[in-house]
Symmetry: C2
Subunit: 276 residues, 2 copies
Amino acid sequence: MRGAAIQLSPVFGELEDNRKRAARAIEEAASLGAELVVLPELCISGYVFADALEARALSEHVAGETVAGWSELAAKHELTIVGGICERDELDGLHNSAVVVDKTGLIASYRKTHLWDREQLVFAPGTQQPPVIDTDHGRIGLAICYDSFFPEVMRGLALSGAEVIVVPMNSPVTDPPFLPVPVEVSLVIASAAVNRVFVIQADRTRPERGVGWAEASCIVDPDGRLLAGPNHGRAVLVADLDLGLARDKSYGERNDVLADRRVDLYESQLPVPPVA
Amino acid sequence: MRGAAIQLSPVFGELEDNRKRAARAIEEAASLGAELVVLPELCISGYVFADALEARALSEHVAGETVAGWSELAAKHELTIVGGICERDELDGLHNSAVVVDKTGLIASYRKTHLWDREQLVFAPGTQQPPVIDTDHGRIGLAICYDSFFPEVMRGLALSGAEVIVVPMNSPVTDPPFLPVPVEVSLVIASAAVNRVFVIQADRTRPERGVGWAEASCIVDPDGRLLAGPNHGRAVLVADLDLGLARDKSYGERNDVLADRRVDLYESQLPVPPVA
């Protein structure tokens, strides 16, 4: 299975142009043979909202124009597409959401459960766990940006059988820069290695209203090796993922990253997750 | 507080020489102003045991020669010293252990709970949680090598109030090498950042019986920034640690890496740790 992480450069508030930018990048990923294509968080609206009113004006229902366009592209190229939208729910509530689209249309959506900074002023947090979704291109676990900073989330997705965790992201850059790679890339490496899963993370590029981005898009294998990224600027990163590797949790000859958990010891302090 | 990670090069089985090597490195760390000094796993015996019989011949009781020597050095320089020994218990069982020594002598010991590969043929796994210990030089959480690959362990130590997690390590090198840094360094960066703690990891150098080492010694701050390391060869890495930073779990203006956990959502699937 070939996966792609699209490090996109949307422009704040230009919904139609951003849909075209995303579509062009998806076409480019398809032309490179990608089957699972991951776009950033809030990649159609932009991120740096002044307030909820502004965000509402840039929001859409899950079954909206973005999903309609991605459904067409998914059908045309036999893709699974994951990306972030500014979701308006039936009661006019706003959510920082990700949608999963395939040739049949929308197959899943998820509302970010760990809200970062000013997102709390705009969005209602999700009330459902980050999900694992069976797709034509593997069992996909879904986390949005700051969600992935919680090892509980990444472990939970792995325990639920995710073969590849996809992380739409908009990570504001920090000063001074992290060396040798953005901390968000180290987090992906660690999450992949300790859970023996693939991770595809798609971050933003191009400053927006004075906010720069970590450009932490990358694809990492279950050993924790970088298969693609991080890169500066707009990028369509692709890599081949042998998903069978993520179903095998053994690590060397005598170890297994899930079975080796000492649940007996975490118990008094950290309650026991069931093995999926 | 100034911390040190000693990337040591013991020689298999040379107990007396290795005690001298460790003592020289501790003296060197003290001369650099270090107060908390971390040495590698099994740094007196060596690591690549042919079998349990050989390990037994190189083992010592916790209150043995190594701790006696480190106690003298700790008293002389007002240090807290942490390092790994091959422990023989009262019933002749063997453990891959770490000891914590200060000017008063032995203050804590811990038996590794997650055994890596052939360690399972030699050692009995510990039955007690990785501990948090109040010392003259901060609240220290203790994990040995593969223990630190379990986010449950590192999260548990942070929830129990660890300001600095120390990780004595002997990590066999993997081929091809990880880029840009050993995966064991990425794990430290991630553990530090998601828990907002300092981490001091002390790994080995110099091949032993054909096994090379990742040389993943490093000191990382609660943002996930490398303060020292990784380096090749024997090294005494030092860095200044403002432990107050690790008591503050806030992250930006509106976030807190422990309080932001969505325990309500992990509950059905994942551990629900109490807040310390």
